[in-house]
């Protein structure tokens, strides 16, 4: 309750809070993309040959692909030769602990309110921080390793756990999957790797904070989470980016792999720079996120709060292969000013008695466009598959748009697929009711929007829910007269 009120206070006149640049020496590969750049990236990361070959194969494939145009978003053509594909903060020596981390970097995290020290001391959350492309600090490794959990950067995993990476990388999102996934496969620089052994319940929420820092450096994160039989993990991903005038491309790939009776909960708060009021700048966020419930009785749950980015193109999906497996997607997507979001999910029912649930809450303000795009497919063998989808849109003002594109494909007569959709506007009556009680318009909008998104917010881990709620309020600033 206290936090809610703080949110209201903070709503008043605030610009993008995280728009600052950290001055850190960076190690940058020249602009542009060709085989040599990929070799250089691989070499800088000291990768084994199989990894390089994998990248080159993805690159060769990407060259043959066309940029997708089906999404309900508009942006000028991206010049892929005008992007820096690798930028790593220069390391003076190998980092063994926090005290060896660049103080500038630590200051940045302080500004973001995610000081590692604080995190470590107070919250018990292990943080694998991705600053630009290279992970510079990983904490709580020891505690995790005691139960056999591997939580490290994907680069480290390639070095230290090549057998796991080779087995799972590209197994859920193949390098040929789509244009941006192929690009990511060729040039990904870093990301997180997480492996939960059989029967282990991860003792803490695993959390990674991403941050884009070098101008013009596209970020190509690669995350891979593998949960063995009867294991459980909750993973938090949150990101903020410094303010920039030039568009920055972000094309991440996240793969989740759940074995029998395993459960993976993946929560995201996305707050990349959305561009200014006139639609200048902002991040292009083209993400491929997919999980597979490989084993029977496994479960994958995506929760996301998307408030940032100029353009969001993102469909966290679940392949329900194991019998009795469960897929969930809870989303709040908020767009303001000139932001465009085309986001949703795919629930692909392959196994028997598989269940999925989709709750999508879209909030549009300003002149933004917000689309929900979702596919529910029940395959031939998906006996008794069940899906429930609920897509609600809330409009603020009359210059924005909300769109819903549900696709349903059922090849099995026993499947039951339900879809409900509503569109509403924040009514004058609601605002006046609040104002008559002494709650001003801005605070009233925050209250109404938070209420609208409540079902999804409730899915987020506590510490994330608070941040997400603040984000909603801050992102709507200036959206009402």
């Amino acid at each position: 309750m206290k936090e809610e009120l703080d949110v209201l206070e903070e709503t008043v006149s605030r610009d993008y809070q995280y728009g600052f640049v950290t001055d850190i020496e960076t190690d940058v590969v020249p602009k542009g993309l060709n085989e040599n750049v990929i070799r250089l990236i691989s070499q800088k990361k000291n990768e084994p040959e199989w990894m390089l070959n994998w990248r080159l194969k993805a690159y060769a494939h990407w060259l043959k692909m066309e940029e997708p145009e089906w999404a309900n978003v508009k942006y000028p053509p991206i010049d892929f030769q005008d992007i820096i594909y690798y930028a790593a903060p220069k390391k003076k020596a190998k980092v063994n602990g926090l005290d060896e981390v660049d103080p500038e970097l630590l200051k940045t995290f302080d500004k973001l309110g995610i000081s590692l020290n604080e995190q470590k001391r107070l919250t018990g959350v292990a943080v694998d921080v991705v600053m630009d492309s290279v992970s510079v600090a990983t904490s709580f490794k020891k505690q995790l390793s005691e139960v056999g959990i591997i939580f490290c950067s994907i680069s480290e995993a390639i070095q230290n756990h090549p057998e796991l990476v080779r087995k799972y990388l590209g197994s859920v999102v193949p390098m040929t999957d789509n244009y941006f996934a192929a690009l990511n496969s060729a040039v990904f620089t870093d990301g997180s790797f997480c492996y939960i052994p059989k029967g282990v319940r991860c003792p803490m929420e695993l959390s990674t904070y991403f941050r884009i820092n070098t101008e013009n450096s596209g970020q190509f994160e690669r995350t891979l989470i593998v949960a063995e039989d009867e294991s459980y993990v909750s993973y938090l991903e949150g990101c903020t980016a410094p303010k920039r005038d030039e568009n920055q491309l972000h094309a991440a790939v996240v793969e989740l792999f759940a074995h029998r009776k395993a459960e993976i909960k993946y929560s995201t708060v996305q707050n990349w720079f959305p561009g200014d009021e006139n639609g200048q700048g902002g991040i292009y966020n083209f993400v491929t996120k997919r999980g597979i419930c490989m084993g029977d009785y496994s479960k994958i749950s995506w929760s996301q709060v998307e408030t940032g980015s100029a353009i969001t193109w993102k469909y966290p999906s679940v392949i329900l292969k194991g019998d009795n497996s469960i897929g969930e997607f809870y989303s709040v997507a908020l767009t303001n000013h000139h932001q465009q979001a085309d986001t949703g999910t795919k629930m692909l029912h392959l196994g028997k008695n598989t269940r999925s649930r989709i709750v999508s809450k879209g909030i549009s303000a300003g002149q933004s466009q917000n689309s929900y795009r979702g596919l529910v497919r029940a395959g031939k063998h998906a006996l008794n598959a069940r899906n429930y989808s609920q897509c609600d849109s809330l409009l603020l003002g009359d210059k924005c748009g909300a769109h819903t594109f549900p696709y349903i494909e059922s090849k099995n007569k026993t499947a039951v697929i339900e879809h409900e959709a509503t569109t509403s506007k924040i009514g004058e009556d609601q605002l006046f009711y609040c104002r008559q009680r002494g709650i001003d318009t801005e605070a009233a909008v925050a209250l109404i929007v938070t209420g609208f998104a409540k079902e999804v917010m409730n899915q987020l881990p506590m510490e994330f829910a608070v941040e997400a709620q603040k984000l909603l309020a801050v992102s709507l600033e200036g959206s009402v007269g």
């Binding site: 009120l5 009514g427 009556d429 006046f432 008559q436 009680r437 002494g438 709650i439 001003d440 998104a453």
Partner: protein, 254 residues
Amino acid sequence: MLSIKDLRASVEGKEILKGINLDVNAGEVHAIMGPNGSGKSTLASVLAGREEYEVTGGSVDFLGKDILELSPEDRAREGLFLAFQYPVEIPGVSTTNFIKTAVNEKRKYHGQPPLDAVSFMKLMKEKMNLVEIDKSLLTRSINEGFSGGEKKKNEIFQMAMLEPKLTILDETDSGLDIDALRIVANGVNKLRDENRAIIVITHYQRLLDYLQPDFVHVLLNGKIVKSGTKELALELEEKGYDFIKDEFSLSEAV
């Protein structure tokens, strides 16, 4: 406390209030009666600051302030409370959360720190008893799926929580059964004291039986055409508005 002078207001170019004069002192209960379309609810909306209504003339002084200059939220924070005829639903926002936000916004306006959770809960408990409101209502989304009686009780509960100087009950009795009416009226009566004033807008005598107003005014065609004591309400109940209309048109003619 409240002094309305020659208040005129129109909506979409049509004049609804055609020169209202009314003085309300602390401790008083005024009833405003009148047939449909006479401007009763418009008066309530204009006082609360609803923006669809354009004030075209006159003044409203509330505790020494020209409230027509204030935003609706500031009027509320100054102590003006409107119990809505049709309380509005806000999905996902619990009644408790809504009221807590309102209480603390008001406190902030008056330079007071927000109530902590414990004091707030204590205050809630105390006021809940006044209006016999069910606890389960407070965790539900405000007004969503509430019965007519629950909505009105909730309005009075909010009134109790916000402790306004001036309360306007806009047809609070409409849609209430006898039991709910009694509970609502008892709640209002418990909140009456010499520092507060109440304006009751109603069609019927029955709410007034419980509230016992000090003054009764009859609003007709955007003007207060007759004022009196509670006996006037009884007369209206007996004879209907026609006798006023006749009387009024007669005096207009003269």
